[in-house]
């Protein structure tokens, strides 16, 4: 079966995070009371006309440029005609013949190394309203429509069928989401519909591409991976059993993980595209495009590579930190303040991440800023606290918002470096544990670990471990003699 090669292409709708809609000045706020962010334009009332939102153009050029695409200086709008209750004009304004961006790529990291996934086009269009069915769509007696979403700007990204595995499809989407978030052009939230993905899958034994099946309305990255995995297997099974793949649209059953052909036979739509007479061609100047390109931020992969090179941190730490622009900004701010990137990365990816996961907070919401981080690291450096105690200090500081110094003072966590004080405790421990001591003296030297532990326990972890170690060995040595 291994000789079958899957060919996978993605069509992704990215909701652009402009404050107002693409053709009117209504708010794009998600989750508002239904049908409150509406006006004659986005309700398609008779006589209303669309006016293109410049911010949408800016965001589209930014995303297109980040995806290494050619920005077309002249692009055109078309009407895509079909009837549906949540489409108020009976047509969708979209781009067709010439999109705003074409021919680019996104480079993903896979187990096989880096791979370029080519992108065919990126065009801007308006979203439809949202149909809310009472119960199942086939049995629903009536449906509600919320037009708040009508006219929300979308950029549709269409890839070439360069993707070969479910994993690659997943990686592409993850990187695309990171990219849109880096650029600030979309929230990338799939559960809020800010990122929607359709997948085209076919398999073939030779260079000829097999029959294409479209899987629609996938609502999470995991669904995309599952759908592709299942669909590739299914198509191979069909072919292996002498059958042939039918060109159709399928849905993923989220419960079973299987793809199923759409129950209602979708009628072959003729969308009768024609140029939108209400909108003149969109003409962009070189200055406009260049300005946006110049202002593009560093993108996720570039940042990841720079982190490894510039800060010398581990590759998986660099990857994880660079996966979010906020995390990356935090990391760099703390590095600037402390000059200790490795330690920063360590504490960020362990204690801080644990805290964020536990509380559901964002990195931007915590009070443990670069000042506190610097104070914290200096407490370790100057020996005030041990590495063990350090974990407690940072956790407490995150939890309470108090400064590391306050925590240390309050809890009396200052490391004991006074050799006389430690020596006293060491002797106490030796007296109280005759058995491990004799074991040690008879050659079972690993029992020293137990003895160190006892000393630490008595000092509540505050004793300097190196000093404890040294004093214990000295004392035992003396006993041996």
């Amino acid at each position: 079966m291994s000789e079958y090669k899957p060919t996978i292409g993605l069509e992704i709708h990215v909701q652009l995070a402009t404050k107002t809609k693409i053709f009117c000045s209504c708010s794009t706020e998600f989750g508002d009371e239904p049908n409150t962010n509406v006006c004659p334009v986005c309700l398609g009332l008779p006589g209303a006309l669309p006016v293109l939102n410049e911010k949408v153009v800016e965001y589209a050029v930014r995303l297109g440029s980040a995806l290494n695409m050619t920005i077309n200086k002249v692009s055109t709008f078309y009407r895509k005609n079909y009837f549906y209750p949540d489409l108020p004009k009976g047509y969708q304004i979209t781009q067709y013949a010439i999109p705003i961006a074409s021919e680019g790529f996104l480079e993903i990291k896979t187990k096989k190394g880096k791979r370029k996934i080519r992108i065919q086009r990126g065009h801007i269009e308006e979203d439809a309203g949202k149909s809310i069915h009472t119960g199942d769509i086939t049995e629903s007696q009536y449906s509600y429509i919320d037009f708040n979403r009508s006219g929300v700007p979308l950029m549709e990204i269409v890839t070439y069928p360069d993707i070969e595995t479910a994993e690659e499809a997943y990686e592409f989407l993850v990187l695309l989401r990171k990219t849109v978030r880096y650029l600030g052009v979309s929230s990338g939230d799939m559960e809020k519909g800010a990122l929607r993905c359709d997948v085209n899958v076919s398999v073939s034994k030779n260079d000829k591409i097999g029959t294409k099946v479209e899987i629609k309305n996938l609502n999470s990255f995991k669904s995309v991976r599952r759908a592709v995995e299942y669909e590739v297997k299914r198509q191979i099974d069909v072919l292996e059993n002498g059958g042939s793949v039918v060109q159709e649209t399928r849905h993923l059953n989220e419960k079973t993980g299987e793809t199923v052909a759409m129950r209602t036979k979708e009628e072959l739509n003729d969308y009768r595209y024609f140029p939108e007479p209400d909108l003149p061609p969109l003409i962009l100047t070189d200055e406009f495009i260049e300005k946006i390109k110049k202002e593009l931020p560093e993108l996720p992969l570039q940042k990841e590579e720079r982190f490894i090179k510039e800060y010398g941190i581990k590759e998986d730490y660099a990857h994880d930190i660079a996966s979010s622009i906020e995390l990356a900004n935090y990391f760099e701010a703390v590095c600037r303040a402390t000059k200790k990137p490795k330690e920063v990365a360590n504490f960020l990816m362990t204690n801080i991440m644990k805290y964020l996961n536990k509380t559901g907070k964002q990195i931007t919401e915590i009070s443990f800023n670069e000042k506190k981080f610097a104070e914290f690291l200096s407490l370790i450096d100057n020996g005030t606290i041990s590495k063990n105690i350090a974990k407690e200090v940072i956790d407490q500081s995150l939890e309470t918002g108090k400064s590391p110094k306050e925590i240390v003072k309050e809890r009396g966590l200052v490391q004991i470096t006074d050799e006389d004080a430690i020596k006293e405790i060491v002797l106490e421990v030796l007296k109280e544990n005759p058995k491990p001591v004799s074991q040690y003296l008879s050659g079972k030297t690993q029992t020293i670990g137990f003895l160190i532990g006892q000393v630490m326990k008595k000092t509540k972890g505050k004793a300097n471990p190196q000093i404890v170690n040294k004093l214990l060995r000295n004392a035992l040595m003396k006993m041996k003699k």
């Binding site: 398609g44 008779p46 006589g47 006309l49 006016v51 003729d270 009768r272 024609f274 007479p277 003149p280």
Partner: protein
């Protein structure tokens, strides 16, 4: 003084000087309405009480501002007026109350005109006689057995019968000029993009333009001053400097070059219209304008091109009337049936015909042969006009090949379509044109002469029209 005989500027001057009150004006016009409206049927919606109230309101104002202060006014029913029923002459919009003012209406209101009603029209502006109104036909005030033309027939009839002083219409293929011609008044179609289309219910978006219907050229110019101008709500509206379209009225046209289109001879013209054309040429000669012949070789293709482009755009523009959000709804057993029942009952025959033509012309496999081809020929026609305008300042031709016909007389759609052969090319090229009265035929029916101007040169077009109007 007969108040209803006054021009816009005379009337407004008399009101502002305190000579007459707005209420007196309104009462004079209401008298005309009471006398004539039952026979003419120009209005779909008429609100006399509100008009009187508004008149009293204006009379109470200390500052009497606005170039249309107290002018009794009508608006074609495909133009949105806030809180007023706006039907576009269609059953599918019966009862639809508009939640906003069209830009042109906003401007007219700002100048303190009094909108007394919404005028009858061919459904969605598709027709040349106002017989396609879903409600009732309008009658020509000159002879009530005849059509007033269309689709702005209600506006033209209301102005002609002095039920109002002026009105707004819309012109997609001649819908302002042809009824103006049939009723013996002035109708102006501005350059595409000069007047905002925001709030005009779209028939064919690349051709539609709002225009004034008035008693004379000066009134039309005054109205154009009000409604012209860039509107950020319409992306096809053009940002050009504000002009005074009355500035050149009365200035002599000596030396102006006026073109006669050679290809006009390809069409059958009613004898009296031929004579009227010749008479107008004589007038121009008398005014020392130079009349020369020009050629628009593709003129005869304008009609077929129009009947591809306009229905194609209309098929999309009318898709929103689906019974889901507003207007007529006839519920079926499922969504598709609801669409079918609603649209079958809501649209009239002519509208359905054009939706079908347009849907067909845009269909996959036919798009190139119809829509794309028509778009190319449209470009050629526009280029030919551009070339002609290198030699002339304006073109002169009749508005229509015949005078008004009787209600119910024209049976076939093609016969009806042919009415607009001389007005349609102007919309295809986006040019401005005006129809002015030019005498009557033997039956006493008005003849209209059409002048076509250069793009955005309305001031010059109006100057020439004014000279002909007053120099004959």
């Amino acid at each position: 003084m007969d108040i209803t005989e006054l021009s816009i500027s005379q009337l407004v001057k008399n009101i502002k000087s305190g000579e007459i009150s707005v209420k007196e004006v309104m009462k004079s016009y209401i008298e005309n309405i009471n006398k004539k409206e039952s026979k003419i049927k120009a209005f779909i919606h008429l609100d006399i009480d509100n008009a009187l109230k508004k008149a009293e309101e204006l009379d109470r104002m200390r500052e009497k501002n606005g170039v249309l202060f107290g002018v009794p006014f009508a608006v074609k029913d495909n133009i949105n007026v806030l809180n007023t029923e706006t039907t576009a002459g269609s059953k599918i919009l019966k009862g639809y109350i508009s939640p906003y003012d069209a830009t042109a209406v906003e401007k007219v209101k700002k100048e303190n005109a009094i909108i007394i009603g919404k005028t009858n029209m061919d459904e969605f502006a598709m027709g040349s006689s106002t017989e396609n109104s879903a409600f009732f036909p309008t009658h020509n005030p000159v002879n009530v057995e005849y059509v007033p033309g269309g689709s702005s027939g209600g506006s033209a009839a209301a102005v002609k019968s002095k039920e109002v002083l002026a009105a707004l219409g819309s012109d997609t293929g001649g819908s302002v000029r042809e009824p103006a011609s049939f009723c013996g008044i002035v109708g102006l179609k501005p350059t595409y993009g000069l007047v905002s289309r925001y709030g005009l219910i779209a028939f064919s978006s690349s051709l539609d333009q709002i225009g004034p219907l008035a008693r004379n050229v000066e009134d039309a110019a005054v109205l154009l001053n009000v409604i012209a101008g860039f509107d950020s709500r319409d992306e096809t509206s053009v940002n050009i400097e504000k002009k005074d379209y009355t500035a050149l009225l009365g200035k002599e046209i000596k030396g102006k070059k006026i073109g006669i289109i050679k290809e006009i001879t390809d069409f059958d013209l009613q004898q009296e219209i031929k004579s009227a054309l010749n008479k107008t040429v004589d007038t121009l000669n008398k005014l020392q304008a130079e009349v020369i012949e020009v050629s628009i070789p593709h003129l005869k293709y304008a009609l077929p091109v129009y009947y591809i482009i306009a229905p194609s755009e209309a098929s999309a523009n009318l898709a929103r009337f689906d019974g889901v959000r507003y207007g007529l709804i006839r519920e079926g057993n499922n969504l598709k049936e609801t669409y079918q029942l609603t649209r079958t009952e809501g649209f009239g025959e002519e509208v359905k015909r054009r939706i079908l033509i347009g849907t067909f012309a845009l269909s996959s496999g036919y798009y190139d042969a119809y829509y794309l081809k028509a778009s190319k020929v449209r470009r050629i026609i526009a280029n030919e006009f551009e070339n002609a305008f290198k030699k002339v300042d304006a073109l002169l031709l009749p508005t229509t090949a015949t005078t008004a016909f009787k209600i119910g007389e024209k049976k076939s759609p093609l016969e009806m379509y042919a009415t607009d052969i001389f007005t349609i090319p102007v919309n295809l090229a986006g040019l401005p044109a005006i129809s002015i009265p030019s005498g009557n035929d033997k039956k006493g029916l008005p003849i209209g002469m059409q002048l076509i101007g250069k793009w955005f040169k309305e001031e010059e077009l109006l100057q020439i029209a004014y000279s002909i109007e007053n120099g004959g």
